[in-house]
């Protein structure tokens, strides 16, 4: 195994892994550098889905369904995380005007 049949041409697993890595790196960079809370949440979703892609790629390669199971689990957790994260953001926006996450630094020691 180790290859995927895409439209008649063979594609190596490493391409999928490379794509997952690129997406994950983009998500990480976004979380690190962007300051808009909504964007940060989106970037986190991106990271999670990059991981999903990696899991499914390996699942396919190893012919093991556990990877797909993990992907489903991750999607559930991602949905929950999005709900909670967005709810917190909505609440914060209601109370005050927040432009970026650096305004939320009350936990400074």
């Amino acid at each position: 195994m180790g290859t995927f049949d895409v439209g008649g041409s063979q594609l190596d697993t490493s391409w999928f892994l490379l794509l997952g890595a690129i997406l994950f790196a983009m998500g990480t960079a976004g979380v690190l550098v962007r300051r808009n809370p909504l964007i940060i949440l989106i970037c986190i979703e991106l990271m999670l889905n990059a991981v999903n892609l990696t899991l499914i790629a390996f699942s396919r390669q190893l012919e093991n369904l556990e990877g797909q199971l993990f992907a489903l689990m991750t999607m559930t957790v991602a949905a929950a995380e999005a709900v909670v994260g967005l709810a917190i953001l909505v609440d914060i926006f209601r109370v005050r005007d927040v432009e970026d996450v650096d305004d939320l630094s009350e936990l400074r020691g």
């Binding site: 990480t28 979380v31 690190l32 550098v33 300051r35 940060i40 996450v101 650096d102 939320l104 630094s105 009350e106 936990l107 400074r108 020691g109």
Partner: protein, 635 residues
């Protein structure tokens, strides 16, 4: 009901009374306190009478208190003639005094009133436990409990700083004695592997004696006896204990608790019969204390303090008696002293009551005509203290002196001579007290012009004791060389050599003559005090010997010496500990720990910027580093 149960009842009545009064006393009407407080003591007295008339003589075993391997300690009570004798004194004289307190403490408010009777009943219970205990552990428990109740009662008026200080002093002095007792019990346990009287005393008769160890044990027990009975050198607490209410002085610091030392030596006589040096020390301590306290009593002006020193002196006589082996004479004096000294204290209490708490007897004078019943009873008590025939004091004191004179060795002669001098001094200081307080013209400083006699509840117990002090001596007239000797027969039956200890020598023929001569001289000195302190025909001796007066007024500088030797050095050590150890080292360590945590938290909190990106950066960087490490290790 079995006699075993009756013996338990003797203890349980006061315990139940104390529990009831402690728990509910202040919420119940005062009448209940008035009935329960003295009532339980009388109930105990009746239970003791049941034991007496059934000729109880047994070592009652109740249950096992401690069992550990081969060691077993029972809760057992010894009922023999000695403990019945002591119980009769405690509950009989105690009952009279507690009844008297119903009137004396009437000015207290309800909670204090109930508190007083709670403490009194606790004391009676503790004292009964002390004398009934059949093993050393419960002896020590009772011993410590009487010290505790004495502490409570001396400090009864806890808002007075002097009372609190006196209570503390008494407690500390008594604890010194407790430690001695405990060590003594340890020594006996090491030697005989038993803590019951029966176990120890039986081993004494069967095993070969290690007299060194017995001497050690006897001396350690003597420390306890000396502390409890206010003998030299642990006596300084007793005069201060007069801060307590007068019935307390009568019951605890005259009639019962302070005689516990005499009881101890009597109970431990199988040990003291072997430990001759410790036994001799008992006699010497008693004789020295008798003389020493009598000299101090010559110059005291507080009527209760005169009585306190007189108590020390009379207990010295008892120590002298048991120390030379005249046990029954010592216990006879214990009984007679309980009568006349409780009488003197309660009569003095009546006077203090009438004088609105003035205790300086130079400020009395002329009470004879105004407080006639109290005056008559006080006079009877005084004459009994001096030892005038036919009052009880004569028979008991002269029996002690006669026994000492008749034994005929150097020790006995020495303590006899000291006892004789003490008897003369007793005549003089008692006379001084009597004439100053009751005769002559009323002092211009007297707080009350027309004093009122005490109510019947305070007068009747005093009168009963006065009757006992007057005719009580006729139960044993050995001091005269003929007549009944009930106490001797009761405590040391002729056919029983294991009882309290028999006097092993015959009375000398001259003892009676010398006894009567002593009485005559003491009586003359009593009268001489009249010419010194009332008519002022003779100059008081103090004018000629001012240094001696100063020495006696300062009580031979014992308090000052103890302060210099123990209190102040310990204060300094405590100061040092406080200044240098407590504040520097211990506080430093405690505060330092806090400061260290605070400083650490201060530096640590720099990492908590509150910026989301910082946390994410740390998180990502850590993940990257972890990944690199894992990869390197896998490679």
């Amino acid at each position: 009901m079995s006699l075993q149960a009756v013996t338990m009842l003797v203890l349980l009545f006061p315990a139940a009374g104390a529990t009831l009064l402690a728990g509910r006393g202040w919420r119940m009407p005062r009448t209940v306190t008035k009935i329960v407080g003295p009532g339980v003591v009388w109930a105990s007295f009746i239970a003791t009478l049941v034991l007496l008339f059934n000729h109880t003589f047994n070592d009652f075993y109740y249950w096992t208190w401690i069992k550990s391997g081969s060691f077993e300690l029972p809760f057992n009570l010894v009922v023999d003639n000695l403990s019945i004798f002591m119980c009769l004194v405690i509950t009989g004289v105690g009952g009279l005094i507690v009844t008297y307190s119903v009137g004396y403490m009437a000015h207290e408010d309800d909670p204090s009133y109930a508190r007083f009777f709670t403490y009194m009943d606790v004391f009676i219970f503790s004292m009964l436990l002390l004398v009934l205990a059949g093993n050393f552990v419960f002896l020590i428990v009772g011993w410590a409990l009487v010290g505790l109740s004495s502490y409570f009662l001396i400090g009864f008026w806890y808002h007075r700083p002097s009372a609190v200080l006196a209570a503390r002093k008494a407690f500390v002095m008594n604890v010194i004695g407790d430690v001695g007792m405990i060590l003594g019990a340890f020594v006996l346990f090491v030697g005989y592997h038993s803590l019951t009287y029966a176990g120890v005393f039986n081993s004494l008769t069967t095993l070969t004696q290690d007299s060194g160890m017995l001497e050690l044990a006897a001396f350690l027990l003597l420390v306890g006896a000396v502390a409890k009975s206010a003998q030299i050198p642990l006596h300084t607490w007793l005069p201060d204990a007069m801060e307590g209410p007068t019935p307390v002085s009568a019951l605890i610091h005259a009639a019962t608790m302070v005689t516990a030392g005499v009881y101890l030596v009597g109970r431990m006589h199988p040990i003291y019969d072997v430990a001759v040096y410790a036994h001799g020390a008992v006699a010497i301590i008693g004789a020295v204390t008798a003389l020493f306290a009598a000299t101090i009593a010559l110059v005291q002006t507080d009527i209760k303090r005169v009585l306190a020193y007189s108590t020390m002196s009379q207990i010295g006589y008892m120590f002298l008696a048991v120390g030379i082996g005249a046990y029954t004479a010592g216990f006879f004096h214990l009984l007679s002293h309980a009568f006349f000294k409780a009488l003197l204290f309660m009569a003095a209490g009546n006077v203090i009551h009438a004088m609105h708490d003035e205790q300086d007897m130079r400020k009395y004078g002329g009470l004879w005509g105004q407080l006639r019943p109290t005056s008559i009873t006080f006079l009877l008590g005084s004459l009994s203290l001096v030892g005038v025939i036919p009052l009880v004091g004569f028979f008991s004191k002269e029996q002690i002196l006669g026994a000492a004179f008749s034994r005929g060795d150097t020790l006995a002669y020495s303590v006899w001579a000291v006892g004789l001098v003490t008897a003369l001094l007793t005549g003089f200081y008692t006379g001084r007290m009597w004439w100053l307080a009751f005769c002559g013209k009323p002092s211009p400083e007297r707080p009350v012009e027309h004093p009122h006699e005490a109510p019947p509840v305070m007068l009747i117990p005093v009168v009963i004791l006065a009757i006992l002090a007057t005719i009580g001596g006729f139960i044993q007239t050995r001091a005269l060389g003929f007549g009944p000797h009930l106490i001797d027969d009761f405590l040391a039956p002729a056919n029983d050599y294991t009882a309290v200890g028999r006097q092993m020598w015959e009375e000398a023929a001259g003892a009676v003559v010398i006894g009567l001569a002593t009485m005559a001289l003491g009586g003359l000195l009593f009268l001489a005090a009249y010419r010194v302190y009332v008519t002022h025909a003779w100059r008081p001796w103090t004018g000629r010997l001012p240094w001696a007066q100063r020495l006696l007024e300062r009580k031979y500088y014992f308090d000052e010496a103890y302060n210099a030797a123990f209190v102040r050095p310990l204060d300094r050590v405590a100061d040092l500990g406080f200044r240098d150890v407590e504040t520097e080292v211990l506080d430093g360590a405690v505060v330092g720990t806090g400061e260290l945590a605070e400083a650490g938290a201060g530096y640590g909190s720099f990492t908590q910027t509150g910026y989301f990106r910082n946390y994410v950066l740390v998180f990502v960087a850590s993940a990257v580093i972890l990944a690199i490490v894992l990869l390197l290790r896998a490679a």
